[in-house]
């Protein structure tokens, strides 16, 4: 097998069109990394400027009523991820700006895609675009004649007479072509690592390694199937057209169809329904601005009892702040219920879609790629949860200040000073750690491995029917 492998690479090195194509591909892959890095850098700069600007605005509040400040609120922006230059995932589709304020959990808005007309259906020139769509095509073109050309030239008979087993030949050809794809992949990952040397850490390296493994599996599957077809069919054109057909079905048809189907199986509410349901649940509770609410009366009785006084005016604290926080706590339960259901539906959709990897390894590759790059919906949802947790801490600080900062009930003119506003922490995003989300991608890796085993099985059991003589 080693000799077959060596011969194949010797052939590649002596084939001018392949050398030219390889150089072109390597340049485009490196170019995509450079552009991707530059874009991430520019986006990060914009993010930092916006973040600092917003923090400066918050820190410059001289004196303001804490509840007024809760309505004034702040904004958080979605930071660019270092691995975005490899695979941007859903980042251009999801919004970038999230308003953090009292009484409401907002949704992230102003996506990049909504800020201009349509450009590319398959995304920007990221490494993932080239590695997922173009490199497999190149591998198909390299592999579709690998065995049939040996048959047509009569070399196959010669090789078999010399003692080469057909399976070794097929495996050798597969591995040598697959290694060509893995070589391109390795150059991409290496270029990425070199350009981001200062930012590399075990988390990024771990993610990049899994990214590399996922693609390697896929390249083996594509190459193995094409070589197998080349061995089974006399006419190389049939092997080529069959593989192109499979490529179209795997990469263009099935992902679209399966994604649309899972949205039907696990339906999401419309925005109108979602908002109405939350409003309905919210109205059942305590409205922070509605003095006639029964729950407010209960709360009032409880607080008066706790402080051992008869009226709100006797309270040493500001009851309005307590009302606001109580309302927030109730609101949080409502948000948890509805946003929780939404996240649960999205998780079910993802799981169902991942199962599609059983019939289409490209789905597993796509999931693993954007997942390990930290840019899939799972990571996006983690980000949203972090922002919401921050919002709760942020609003509680303001409500507590309103309640216990020194003002009395009904004193809406009371203002907290600048020191207090400066003491409210800014939102700091903690990137999701791979170890915590890895179990979600095990199924993708498993399907890629199962497909690889299936391809090996095809070779072992199917190659016996190959016509040699």
């Amino acid at each position: 097998m080693w000799n077959i492998f060596k011969n194949e690479w010797l052939y590649y090195s002596r084939t001018p069109w392949l050398l030219g194509t390889s150089v072109g591909f390597v340049l485009v892959l490196i170019f995509s990394i450079v552009l991707g890095n530059y874009q991430t850098k520019k986006q990060s700069e914009r993010y930092k400027t916006a973040k600092n600007e917003l923090r400066a605005q918050w820190g410059s509040i001289d004196a303001m009523n804490p509840h007024g400040a809760a309505h004034y609120g702040t904004y958080v922006f979605k930071p660019a991820n270092l691995l975005s230059s490899l695979d941007e995932g859903v980042n251009s589709i999801t919004g970038n700006v999230l308003r953090v304020e009292g009484h409401v959990q907002n949704e992230i808005v102003h996506s990049e895609a909504s800020q201009m007309q349509s450009v590319s259906k398959f995304g920007k020139l990221k490494s993932s675009l080239l590695l997922q769509y173009l490199v497999p095509i190149l591998l198909i073109f390299l592999a579709f004649r690998s065995i049939s050309s040996e048959k047509q030239s009569g070399r196959l008979k010669l090789l078999v007479l010399q003692g080469v087993k057909p399976l070794s030949l097929v495996l050798g050809k597969t591995l040598s072509i697959c290694l060509y794809g893995i070589g391109l992949l390795a150059i991409t990952v290496l270029a990425y690592s070199l350009f981001n040397l200062t930012d590399l850490n075990s988390e990024v390296l771990g993610r990049t390694a899994l990214f590399f493994i996922s693609y390697s599996f896929y390249y083996f599957i594509i190459t193995g199937l094409t070589v197998f077809f080349s061995a089974r069919w006399e006419n190389p054109t049939i092997a080529l057209t069959s593989m192109l057909g499979i490529w179209i079905i795997w990469t263009i048809f099935l992902p679209n169809i399966l994604m649309s189907s899972v949205e039907k199986w696990h339906e999401l509410p419309s925005r109108n329904e979602f908002k109405s349901a939350m409003k309905e649940d919210r109205s059942k509770g305590l409205d922070g601005h509605n003095p006639s609410d029964e729950r407010k009366e209960e709360l009032e009785a409880r607080v008066l009892k706790d402080y051992g006084v008869d009226s709100l005016s006797q309270l040493p604290i500001n009851f309005d702040g307590i009302v606001m926080q109580e309302d927030e706590e109730y609101g949080n339960k409502v948000w948890d219920k509805h946003f929780g259901e939404l996240r649960s539906v999205l998780a079910k959709q993802k799981k169902s879609y991942q199962l599609g990897g059983f019939v289409n390894p490209f789905i597993s590759l796509q999931n693993a790629s954007m997942g390990f790059a930290g840019n899939d919906n799972l990571h996006h949802q983690e980000y949203l949860v972090q922002v919401e947790n921050y919002r709760r801490v942020f609003i509680k600080m303001l409500n507590d200040k309103h309640a216990f900062g020194g003002s009395k009930t009904g004193d809406w003119g009371w203002k907290a000073d600048n020191d207090f506003f400066k003491s409210v922490p800014a939102f700091e995003y903690q990137p999701t750690v791979l170890a915590s989300v890895f179990p979600h991608y095990r199924i993708d890796l498993l399907f890629l491995a199962v497909w690889s085993v299936f391809v090996i099985g095809l070779m072992i059991f199917g190659i016996g029917k190959m016509q040699v003589l």
């Binding site: 102003h110 996506s111 007309q117 349509s118 920007k124 020139l125 054109t237 925005r271």
Partner: protein, 438 residues
């Protein structure tokens, strides 16, 4: 050999080639699936709009009953007085809806990236959070929906490739080409006729799919122009690829070489060029984080803090209030001024939106400048435009919302400063006026 004979031979060749038949069938299935996806979205939008419209009437009726019964205040909210313009206009339900075009069945375009209904209030803006897209799985949006436009733009070249890839080169490889040259007038016209056969076959399939789509949403009757334009651009697109492939076939003599070139050109136009353009825009103009829009909060606070500036800005915007009865009465002026705040904030928001719109326009101009070498993006946006699912259609929708907000705040200021008393007739007048764009 006449063109008719070549057509007849090609028909025989086609019917004996299961691979080509399967490709055509798959294309038809994908087309029908795509049309149904477009139809489903059209239906969803229509149903959602109907639901919203159903909510408007009872809400309006509730206030009309209040006027009829003379209950102009709310027991729980005593500050509300429906006889004043502020609360009457506040409680005049105004929604602006983007009704989907029946041609959406052909191209979903950017319809899933934007909101299509909006409640217009004093404090609204076309860039509010509720103008975001419908709730959807971002991974699905990223993968994209397989609509008819997708089938046309990305699968038509592949179908043509499968139908044409071995024309002439198969004969050349088998050594029949000299024989054919003897039998036909010219090798080129023979190749042209054969190519034309498959182009006409593809055109027929596309036309049938377009007609099927028009049956789903009645587009042929209700959006005749859109149907005609979609047909025209679909055929132009088909001709574009046919010409490209014809020249590859004309100058190529091997199946593999032709296939490689055809796939290469398809990858170049479908993936590489649009992806490079997209990447360049993101570098030149990264996603706008709307900080200009956010700054309105602070400008608003500054405005509130300075009474004389506030009043001057209000007079600059509405000079007629200087002659109003409220302006002459110092006891009422503060109250009216505070209630007019939304009109000034609306102006601040409009100023802040302008650079955002300009930046988006610059991005669009950049994309349009690449059309001459980026045909798929050109045709994609053309089809989106026809189906009214293009960025510009949603920008026009935003502009209409802004016009309604402008009108609402202008009416508020005019009525407020003239101390208009609102009754049922006046409320109905508001309802008429605030719901229509002039």
């Amino acid at each position: 050999m006449s063109a008719l004979n070549i057509f007849l031979y090609e028909w025989k060749h086609f019917t004996r080639n299961p691979f080509k038949i399967v490709a055509v069938l798959l294309f038809i299935v994908a087309g029908i699936y795509g049309l149904h996806n477009g139809y489903k979205l059209y239906q969803n939008h229509t149903t959602e709009i109907e639901k919203i419209q159903e909510k408007i009437e009872p809400e309006k009726q509730k206030y009309l009953t209040q006027y009829e019964e003379g209950k102009l205040t709310d027991e729980n909210r005593p500050w509300i007085d429906m006889s004043t313009p502020f609360w009457a206009i506040w409680n005049t339900p105004t929604y602006h809806l983007k009704t989907p075009s029946p041609a959406m069945v052909y191209s979903i375009g950017q319809a899933e990236q934007y909101g299509f209904y909006k409640r217009v209030t004093f404090w609204a803006s076309p860039y509010d959070a509720d103008m975001a897209e419908e709730i959807a799985n971002p991974e699905r949006l990223q993968t994209g929906t397989l609509d008819f436009a997708f089938v046309l733009l990305f699968l038509t070249p592949l179908l043509l490739l499968i139908l044409l890839y071995n024309l002439k080169s198969a004969e050349a490889e088998q050594g029949f080409l000299p024989l054919i040259e003897v039998q036909t007038v010219s090798k080129n016209s023979w190749l042209l006729a054969r190519t034309l056969f498959y182009v006409l076959l593809t055109a027929l399939v596309i036309i049938c799919l377009l007609v099927y789509g028009s049956v789903l949403t009645n587009a042929f009757n209700t959006a005749k122009d859109a149907f005609g334009q979609t047909l025209l651009y679909s055929l132009l697109y088909l001709i574009f690829w046919s010409v490209v492939y014809f020249f590859i076939l004309k100058y190529g003599n091997s199946i593999l070489g032709n296939t490689l070139q055809m796939v290469g050109i398809w990858l170049l136009f479908a993936f590489i060029i649009p992806a490079i353009v997209h990447q360049n825009i993101s570098i030149a103009k990264p996603a706008n984080l709307m900080t200009d829009f956010i700054e309105v909060r602070d400008k608003q606070q500054d405005l509130y803090a300075d009474d004389s500036l506030f009043q001057q800005k209000l007079i600059d915007l509405f000079p007629e209030i200087e002659n109003s009865p409220v302006y002459q009465d110092s006891t009422k002026i503060n109250f009216a001024r505070n209630r007019s705040a939304s009109a000034l904030v609306n102006e601040l928001k409009k100023e802040s939106i302008q650079p955002i719109v300009e930046e988006s326009q610059a991005k669009n101009d950049f994309i349009q400048a690449t059309y001459w070498f980026n045909p798929i993006t050109f045709f994609q946006n053309k089809l989106n435009s026809i189906a009214q699912t293009h960025y510009n259609d949603y920008q026009a929708y935003r502009n209409e919302i802004q016009a309604l907000i402008d009108k609402r705040t202008a009416v508020l200021v005019k009525e407020l400063w003239n101390e208009v008393k609102v009754d049922k007739e006046k409320y109905l007048e508001y309802d008429q006026e605030l719901n229509h764009i002039e």
